[in-house]
């Protein structure tokens, strides 16, 4: 494409004008206006779910904006697809790798534009071009003929970056590029970014690693709840200033309400772990309390809940639950596994499950329920009606001798729809047609009629609009008041601070801190969540043919 002359500072390279985005009726991006100048590194930062990824995906044509427009070097810019954006020199390095593992490094680098004669690849030329591409990012040591699947994850990330460092690149969006890089690889990347900006390329650097932003960014744009809070020069801005902008806003009234009265221990977790994803987590859940789990995405929060539910098998540690008030049927189910042992914790008889539960079925028999993070792929049968989804986890209540009792099931579902205020045309409506909030209520319905003592909730309000959130919070409050213990993972700190009686913070697979209600501040929670950043162990590098 013809190279347009560098725009003067007066006309920014990219102008984002009041761009907004709705997903299924939920606004995730509110009319963001932002300018990007040639040759600068603009950091895009904010908490999880603040809208960073959505904004960068709109810029790179991965998803269309609902409102607003953009101008690239003065001309209207509305990419219809990633290919369309790339043709105009706007490229993105994604968090999820876009490489084809079975192809070689060279083939991946030149995917879609391999040098060929009548369909036959000219290998020598392919490898020469790939080597030149790799050299740009200091990766001369990688043989272009190596299959990508044999590289370590960090090297794969570097190859992905190299693929996007092409001569016609005008804007390069890097989404959490260093998440899987070693410090040495990070340094290479930063050198390469400096070289690109010297050529006039504009970089959008999406990250919430504050120390990195200070090293690399010229300006920083902070997003919060899908709104642009501030866009200002990085120089002179302290990390405290940044965190305040990310967190912002006045403190909610609910944060000052008293702690709920906590009852007996209903679940004791002792050093449970699985490989390096969850490392020896211990905690106690008491009846009637809400225990929040904070932490960054990938800190092991979801993995912890899956271990506690038996969805994945733990390889160490144990879980203990009281057995005294169990119904005979449930006690019988608990007696089945040979590796359990009964012991006394304080007063009351507890049963210990070595390495946690071995299946969700066992967890349910012990009175533990899970509302999973990804309700579309793990929680719901989207194509099936509300009726089937709501009663899925306990059909014994609506069946006799294996035969379903239609009238009783219908009545139960109607009562769910009423009490949870599920907005639907009827109980026969497929859940895939409901809004996120109403889908989540259907998942809740499942645990309403079961003798669940511990409910594990993973991001219960993700993708749920504000109105429906309040109703879900009300439901959680009611469950806690009934004496259930809730263990709730959330990326939304304000939500945790409003709902939880205690908040545990996870970082790099460990539970690094537990705060009591009243002891925490947003800053202290964030500081704990980021605590691994300095002392983070280098990620394990799989055996690779080019290991230095």
């Amino acid at each position: 494409m013809p190279h347009t002359p560098s725009p003067t500072p007066a006309t920014p390279l990219l102008h984002v004008d009041a761009v907004g985005k709705d997903y299924h009726g939920t606004t995730v991006l509110h009319d963001v206006t932002l300018a990007l100048n040639a040759g600068e590194v603009l950091a895009l930062t904010g908490e999880n779910g603040a809208g960073k990824s959505t904004l960068s995906k709109i810029i790179c044509g991965l998803t269309p904006a609902t409102r607003g427009g953009m101008r690239l070097a003065g001309a209207a810019f509305m990419p219809e697809s990633r290919q369309d954006a790339e043709r105009q020199g706007v490229r993105m390095v994604m968090q999820e790798l876009g490489l084809v593992p079975t192809l070689t490094v060279a083939e991946n680098l030149l995917l879609g534009r391999m040098p060929s004669t009548a369909g036959w690849v000219r290998r020598a030329e392919l490898h020469a071009a790939a080597r030149a591409q790799l050299a740009k990012i200091g990766l001369e040591s990688i043989d272009p003929a190596t299959p990508v699947s044999r590289l370590g994850i960090g090297q794969q990330q570097m190859v992905e970056i190299a693929r996007n460092l092409q001569d016609d690149t005008r804007i390069l969006v890097l989404d959490e590029p260093t998440a899987m890089l070693t410090p040495r690889e990070t340094n290479y990347l930063f050198e390469q970014i400096a070289r690109l900006t010297a050529r006039g390329v504009a970089i959008v650097y999406v990250s919430h690693r504050l120390e990195e932003l200070r090293r690399i960014a010229d300006r920083v744009a902070v997003l919060r709840d899908g709104r642009l809070v501030d866009a200002c020069p990085m120089a002179g801005l302290s990390e405290d200033d940044l965190v305040r902008r990310m967190v912002g806003r006045s403190v909610n009234d609910l944060e000052h309400r008293p702690r709920r009265a906590a009852g007996a221990v209903v679940m004791q977790v002792n050093g449970i772990g699985r490989a390096s994803a969850v490392q020896d987590v211990s905690l106690e859940l008491r009846a009637g309390e809400v225990f929040g789990i904070a932490g960054l995405v990938g800190s092991g929060r979801t993995e912890l809940l899956r271990l506690l539910y038996g969805a994945d098998r733990a390889d160490r540690g144990s879980v203990s639950l009281p057995v005294d008030d169990f119904k005979p049927k449930q006690a019988a189910a608990l007696d089945a596994p040979a590796h359990t042992a009964i012991k006394s914790i304080a007063k009351g008889v507890y049963k210990t499950f070595a390495k946690g539960f071995h299946s969700p079925l066992q967890a349910m028999a012990a009175g533990v329920g899970l509302v999973s993070e990804d309700r579309k792929s793990q929680g719901l049968l989207l194509a099936q009606p509300i009726r089937i989804n709501a009663t899925l986890s306990d059909l014994s209540a609506v069946s006799r001798g294996g035969w379903l009792q239609g009238a009783r099931e219908h009545g139960l579902v109607q009562s769910f729809i009423r009490t949870l205020r599920i907005r639907c045309t009827s109980g026969e409506q497929p859940v895939g047609q409901l809004s996120g909030g109403n889908q989540q209520k259907v998942v809740f319905a499942r645990w309403l009629h079961r003798p669940v003592r511990v409910l594990l909730l993973d991001e219960p309000t993700r993708g749920v609009d504000v109105g429906a959130r309040a109703e879900i919070y009300g439901e959680l409050d009611r469950m806690a008041a009934e004496g259930r213990a809730l263990l709730m993972v959330s990326s939304d700190l304000r939500e945790l601070m409003a709902m939880a009686d205690r908040i545990g913070v996870m970082s790099a697979g460990r539970l690094v801190a537990i705060f009591e209600r009243g002891e925490w501040t947003e800053q202290s929670l964030l500081a704990a969540a980021f605590s691994d950043a300095a002392g983070r162990p280098a990620p394990a590098q799989p055996v690779s043919p080019v290991a230095a």
């Binding site: 294996g402 379903l404 009423r418 309040a470």
Partner: protein
């Protein structure tokens, strides 16, 4: 943000205009009517094309063809709903017929014992297919493809590669009672009704549909999908064994080549009935319509004197057209 926020008036209104119950059969009524219309259209077309089609003889022939196909299609419906496939049913049918023939002719077993052996043979074959695909998490396509070959080979072994003439020991099963309706036909009819009830009215049927829709969601809801999968394949094998008995009763012989390629006819009948190959959606009653359509098509094309090649071309087109129509219908209702 405030958990004690009262519901908005709009929400309360939405809740009070609560939905009313719709019987399941009513939501399916359109589908049944559509399939019945297609069937009636085909009967009309063939009656118009051939003066001999509209006769008792034709309908006796069709009624005789149906039971074996219908019985296997019932099992296959469940297999497709759990997003599996069983290519071995034709071979299992032949092996079941072969073992019962061997039991009567070579080992001198009484007829009821030989019949039971046929059913057990089918059950064992189906259980093997299901257990292997569950234990090693293999696609049932591959496992049942292997079974298709291995079981066919076993049928040759048992029959010594020759058709075994059983005589009229079990022909009462296929003999017409009233106007072409045989015991086998009645058994198939009862099976369709019972299987539909199992699918839509039992906890097991609910698990089958759930596993076909989203297996991980079912696992997290506390349902172990593995035994359900094995049972579905085991029952399908059992039904293929029953089909084998019906076939050898009708032909008074066990042919080691019997049912060769029949698995595709069975799958075609189920798919024409609107059951999804992707799993999660299907009905036994519509499968029965699919069986009727296949049987009428076959008999009709024979009546109008279509050559073997053109019969197969037309059958192929009908299968694809039926699925296109069903897919378009589904898209319209889900959007």
């Amino acid at each position: 943000m405030n958990p004690s926020t009262p519901p908005s008036p709009a929400a309360a209104a939405a809740a009070s205009t609560a939905p009313s119950a719709t019987p399941i059969w009513r939501t399916q009524l359109g589908t049944y009517l559509g399939l019945a219309l297609v069937l009636a259209g085909m009967v009309g077309l063939f009656s118009w094309l051939s003066e001999y089609f509209w006769s008792v003889e034709t309908f006796v022939t069709i009624a005789n063809e149906i039971p074996a196909l219908a019985v296997m299609a019932v099992g296959m419906t469940f297999v497709l709903i759990i997003a599996g496939i069983d290519l071995s049913v034709g071979s299992v049918m032949a092996l079941a017929a072969a073992t019962s023939a061997a039991a009567i002719l070579q080992w001198g077993w009484p007829v009821p014992a030989a019949a039971a052996l046929a059913l057990v043979t089918g059950l064992v074959c189906g259980t093997i297919t299901g257990a292997i695909s569950v234990a090693w998490r293999l696609p049932s396509f591959i496992v049942s493809l292997g079974m298709l070959e291995a079981v066919r080979g076993s049928a040759y072994l048992v029959t010594d590669s020759r058709t075994q003439y059983v005589g009229d020991a079990i022909s009462w099963l296929a003999a017409p009672l009233v106007g072409g309706i045989s015991v086998a036909f009645l058994i198939a009819l009862v099976l369709v009704v019972v299987a539909q009830l199992v699918l839509s009215r039992t906890v097991f049927g609910r698990s089958v549909v759930g596993i076909g829709t989203n297996e991980e969601a079912m696992r997290l809801a506390g349902v172990d999908p593995r035994p359900v999968r094995i049972i579905v394949f085991a029952v399908t094998g059992l039904l293929a064994g029953l089909a084998g008995l019906m076939q050898s009763a009708r032909l008074e012989a066990a042919d080691p080549n019997a049912g060769s390629g029949m698995e595709l006819q069975v799958i075609a009948a189920v798919v024409i009935g609107g059951t999804s190959l992707m799993g999660g959606r299907g009905s036994v009653v519509t499968t029965a319509f699919g069986v009727l359509i296949i049987a009428v098509l076959e008999a009709g094309l024979a009546q109008v004197g279509a050559s073997e090649p053109s019969k197969r071309i037309i059958t192929g087109c009908v299968i694809v057209a039926a699925v296109i129509i069903d897919t378009l219908r589904q898209r319209r209702t889900t959007h």
